[in-house]
């Protein structure tokens, strides 16, 4: 018998469209999975059974009445607790906001609902998106869907775990240092951090507005491509959203990689990589070469300081945003997150401004030197196997800080540069957990990244 909850997002959308499945049947299956997995993973902050079923019944009525159907008609999704929905509690994974209810709905949620999607609940996340592991001292840690002893990754922890556990067909997250790609990698799903400005952020939590990007997580490249197409594009309510047209990402997925140049960095990205991660990356490269891609080794400019430069901006802006809450309600933060939110107070404003100014010349140099020699950069998403939750807990001792810095080692540089980056599952590491390939391209090259990722999915 078909496991409806385990179908892909595009597949289930087509089945609802052709009438072989109803939205109610699909939503019942996903809710049953979500309620079962919640006890194991704590990936939801709230499950909205009644609201989801009401929306599913309405979707089925509209289809029966011959109404125009969107590309996600009747498909249940769930999103990180950072997107406003009018009238709903939106807590940012914290208790600082109390019983704050949103007065309007985020652009990305509006767009998904216009496409016909519905929501089964709100997903767990790192408190204020300040953490890469999936820990949340306020609402409880989110656990890895493949093995609950392992970290789910963060900050979009619930997004990665719920999608991998088939408790939602797809999810939104946000990525300021790797927060979409790390949970995607840890849970063995696809995660896209698009180019800065590709997805509008009106109505979503701000961590560091100069860096923040909304991203999507799904169980396949095709599913992620559909979600991205729906949420991308300019919005007058976000001045930092691009007016460039949004391509039909799905139509380009089967174009293959013949003749494409896949760049492998000689410096930085493999500095802390373990042997099993290196083997998994090589297997991906061998598979892409077998499909006609050319593998090119190259040096990446300024690789070492990029991640820390990103943190100079993130800490500064986060501290500015949190300043009043820290003064008035500092006790409502967990101790770890209060420190992270306070770090920007010790970064001089001139240094922060210098980091902002450095972005354009460093971006130009990076694109010129890297993407003149390759079309797509191929790195690990995580240079180490997914650690256990205990290994990244505050009680882990001296190794904790080294492990935390390794989690963002390969992801954070591309937040500073604003470049698109896609995480796609790769061969298992020695601990049995999946590794993940990160594909990076020039600005707004998401179609190419998705095309290479689709070819990677065909690697045996």
């Amino acid at each position: 018998m078909t496991d409806v909850a385990a179908l892909g997002l595009v597949d289930v959308a087509e089945r609802i469209r052709d009438g072989s499945l109803t939205s109610v049947a699909v939503t019942e299956a996903v809710l049953a999975r979500a309620e079962r997995e919640q006890a194991r993973l704590n990936c939801f902050l709230a499950i909205d059974r009644d609201g989801a079923l009401r929306a599913a019944e309405q979707a089925d009525r509209l289809r029966a009445a011959g109404q125009a159907l969107g590309p996600l008609h009747g498909v249940p999704l769930a999103h990180k607790d950072m997107f406003d929905v009018a009238g709903r509690l939106v807590r940012y994974g914290s208790r600082v906001r109390g019983a704050h209810r949103a007065t309007a709905t985020a652009t990305v949620i509006e767009r998904l609902e216009s496409a016909g999607a519905l929501r089964v609940g709100t997903l767990n996340m790192a408190e204020f998106a300040l953490g890469p592991t999936g820990h949340n001292a306020i609402w409880g840690d989110c656990r890895n869907a493949l093995d609950p002893d392992y970290m789910a990754g963060g900050s979009s922890s619930g997004s990665g775990a719920a999608v991998a556990a088939c408790a939602a067909y797809g999810a939104l997250g946000s990525d300021t240092g790797g927060s979409v790609r790390i949970p995607a990698a840890a849970n063995g799903v696809v995660g896209i951090k698009p180019t800065y400005g590709r997805i509008p952020r009106h109505g979503s939590m701000r961590l560091a507005p100069s860096i923040d990007v909304i991203g999507v997580l799904a169980r396949s490249v095709r599913d992620a491509a559909r979600l991205l197409r729906i949420v991308a594009g300019h919005d007058v309510r976000d001045a930092q959203s691009s007016r460039l047209p949004v391509p039909d990402y799905e139509s380009l997925l089967d174009h293959g990689v013949y003749g494409l140049r896949i760049g492998v960095p000689r410096n930085y990205f493999f500095d802390v990589a373990t042997e099993d991660v290196r083997v998994a990356m090589q297997r991906s490269l061998d598979g892409l070469r077998a499909q006609g891609a050319q593998i090119v080794e190259l040096d990446v400019p300024h690789a070492q300081p990029l991640a820390e430069l990103s943190r100079a901006i993130v800490y500064s802006e986060a501290s500015g945003l949190h300043a009043r809450w820290l003064r008035e309600r500092g006790d409502a933060y967990s101790p770890q997150v209060r420190v992270r939110a306070s770090t920007g107070f010790a970064i001089p404003a001139a240094l922060y401004y210098e980091a902002l100014l450095l972005r354009v010349p460093m971006l130009r140099r990076f694109v010129s030197e890297v993407f003149s020699r390759c079309d797509v950069l191929h790195t690990p998403t995580l240079p180490i196997p997914t650690p256990t939750l205990a290994e990244v807990d505050v009680g882990a001792g001296e190794t904790l800080w080294r492990t935390l810095s390794r989690l963002v080692h390969c992801t954070a540089p591309f937040n500073f540069l604003g470049l698109p980056a896609l995480a796609v599952p790769a061969a298992p590491a020695a601990n049995g957990m999946p590794t993940s390939v990160q594909l990076v391209g020039r600005p707004f090259s998401e179609p190419l990244l998705l095309r290479v990722a689709a070819a990677h999915e065909r690697v045996p």
Partner: protein, 73 residues
């Protein structure tokens, strides 16, 4: 000139001046380490001409560097 790292004591002074409550000296020490890493990264970047750019140029720069509709440059 010798480079002196931020200390917990300096962070505590900043916290007092900005009315930022700190839970402990250990928190101040952790903030000092995190901030110093970020400061070091900015200092480590070689000379780049910064008078010809501003932060608002970032999105236009990304758009300018985008591939053409057929993926070409």
């Amino acid at each position: 000139m010798d480079h002196e790292a931020l200390s917990a004591r300096v962070v505590e002074a900043i916290a007092r001046a900005t009315d930022l409550p700190l839970a402990s000296a250990a928190d101040a020490a952790r903030i000092a380490v995190g901030a110093q890493s970020a400061i070091d990264a900015v200092r480590a970047v070689g000379h780049l001409e910064l008078f010809e750019t501003e932060p608002a140029d970032f999105l236009p720069a990304l758009e300018q560097l985008a591939p053409g509709p057929d993926g070409s440059r």
